[in-house]
């Protein structure tokens, strides 16, 4: 309806053909990443364009080594951008910052700290003006949310992999980021634990509605969690190959998703893409 000429901060909602200038959270434009090697430059990503809306959950799938993690770490600011740009709410990304929370593939907790201290590490940094008790409340709230009520004062090294990743989720949500970046957070877990953590993640996310970008290898996980599944082509020169909109109502449960008539259509779509 509002036809703004400046397309920098606007996006076209493909379904309705409307432009919502203020709804874009994350804007990746002509993104390029080159790794210099002794045999010449290796172009990982090229001409990568992707817009992610506020309160959207996007999962990214693609073959191993196609550059998904490279893209995510560029959004996080941990990996320098070779060409193009990334903007969060219109502000170009210049480095890492707590407005983009990251959940890493390995839980990456400080093993010498307790679960609570690990979450507090970020909370103290992001809410420096809150009182000590308030910050502790925030940390405890999120630890409670991920189901770690009894483990506040356990050393991270004493927790199981799954519990460590729960702390990782609590730590990421507790700093109230604008964007949550998840790099195959459940890739190292067994399938039972993975399911549990997916439920926990989606439950917290339903409440907080933080824009989320998540890399996964698991097609079912991608469908269950996402509003849109972004498929990346295989590298080198990887880009966005296809985008699949997932039209399930939220909040979702695993059961309703699995029983939905479109589920297998989506699934086939993704698998067809990955196999070609």
């Amino acid at each position: 309806m509002i036809a703004e000429k400046s397309t920098k901060d606007t996006v076209l909602d493909q379904e309705n053909g409307i432009v919502f200038p203020s709804k874009i959270m994350l804007d990746l434009k002509d993104l390029k990443k080159v790794y210099p090697t002794p045999k010449g430059d290796y172009v990982v990503l090229e001409d990568l364009n992707l817009q992610i809306m506020k309160e959207e959950f996007v999962t990214i799938i693609g073959h191993s080594g196609c550059g998904k993690t490279t893209m995510l770490s560029m959004i996080a600011g941990l990996n320098p951008i070779t060409g193009g740009n990334i903007a969060v709410l219109g502000n170009p990304v210049k480095g890492p910052g707590p407005d983009r929370g990251v959940i890493f593939q390995s839980p990456s907790l400080m093993p010498w700290m307790t679960a609570l201290q690990n979450v507090l590490l970020g909370v103290n940094r992001v809410f420096p003006h809150a009182t000590k008790a308030q910050r502790k409340d925030i940390a405890q709230y999120y630890l409670h949310k991920v189901g770690l009520d009894g483990a506040f004062h356990k050393k991270a090294s004493e927790l199981s992999q799954g519990m460590q990743q729960r702390v990782g989720i609590a730590r990421a949500f507790a700093i109230k980021p604008k964007v949550l970046l998840l790099d195959e957070p459940f890739g190292m877990l067994d399938s039972l634990t993975r399911g549990e953590l997916q439920d926990i993640l989606i439950e917290i996310w339903n409440k907080e509605k933080i824009t989320a970008v998540m890399i996964t290898h698991d097609v079912d996980e991608a469908i269950f969690l996402a509003d849109r599944v972004v498929m990346m082509t295989s590298g080198p020169r990887a880009k966005i190959g296809d985008v699949l909109k997932i039209d399930f109502e939220r909040p979702r449960t695993r059961k309703t998703v699995l029983e939905h008539e479109n589920y297998y259509t989506y699934r086939k779509h993704l698998i067809d893409f990955l196999e070609h």
Partner: protein, 368 residues
Amino acid sequence: MKQSVTVNEPKDLKAGVALKAFFSKLKIKPPKFEVKTILRKVVVPIVSILLFIGLWHMGSKALFNVEANYKIEKALTDQGQAAADATKACIASGDLSCQPNTLPSPSQVWASFNTLLADHKTISADKLAFKEKTAALNEKRIAAGKEPITYTGRPSFVDQIGTSLKTVFAGFLLALVIAVPIGIIIGLSETLRSSFNWLIQIFKPVSPVVWLLLVFMIVKTMTKDSNSDSAFIISFISVGLCAMWATLVNTAMGVATVDKDYINVAKVLKLGALQKVFKVILPSSLPLIFTGLRITLSVAWMVLIAIELLAQSPGLGSFVWEEFQNGANDSNSKIIVAMFLIGIIGFLLDRIMLVVQNAVSFNKNASA
């Protein structure tokens, strides 16, 4: 000679019987231990200790015989049959004046150990008496602004152990104070690391003796007009300088190789430089720092003896050297006593450091 041997043997046997009895008691007492574990953890070590003592005993006996025969033969060729017989009789009688001087037997060493303990008791009694005697006088002297009179008698063996421990801890602290901060700084910066590397590589292998001489050159001049204990200063600084390299290298390595994930977390949270160092980098390199400190302490203890020996600083090193120079009849066995004590103290120091190291290590699977 034979006499001394026959006196020794029953003693050793008795000890063996006592140990066996002790062991058989142990075997019955804790029923939860498997026989196999007891065998491995109790019997085998005891057997090996007995074997060691037995071999030592036989070796020293053989050396004793060689030395005795040489003495007798020398008397024979130099002074004739009568003198040889006299020497033989003298040796057999156990007379201290003519005993061959060689590797002492286990029982002689044990006896020397007891002598040293008795000596310590006498000396500490002396000291106490001296203190009581001078207490009133010293109070007056202090009131009058004079230096109090201190005990200046010979230090006992235990006192010397104390001095050695004091020196090694002073040296260890010095190494810690120098090596840990420098290690952290050069660990943080690759530029500094490569610019300091040559210095570390060159100075690390320098022998303790050379460090001592270097420290001596400097400290001698610096303490020229003070009445401080320069021997102690020289030895502890040398010990610290010799021993600090392991800590320096380990600290720098620990800081330089912090898990990339932790660094990424720090980056995402945008921790400040100080917070990053104190909350992330230091804790994660603590295990390696303590590994370095453990090596440093054991190196410090090892070089201490050599340094004390050369610096004439009181302690176990000078005790060993003095006994060697002394050449008294029981000097050799006192040296062996010192050797065992040095070993045992070194072992205990290492154990203490291991406990500390395990306490700070967050990865419980990684044990030394």
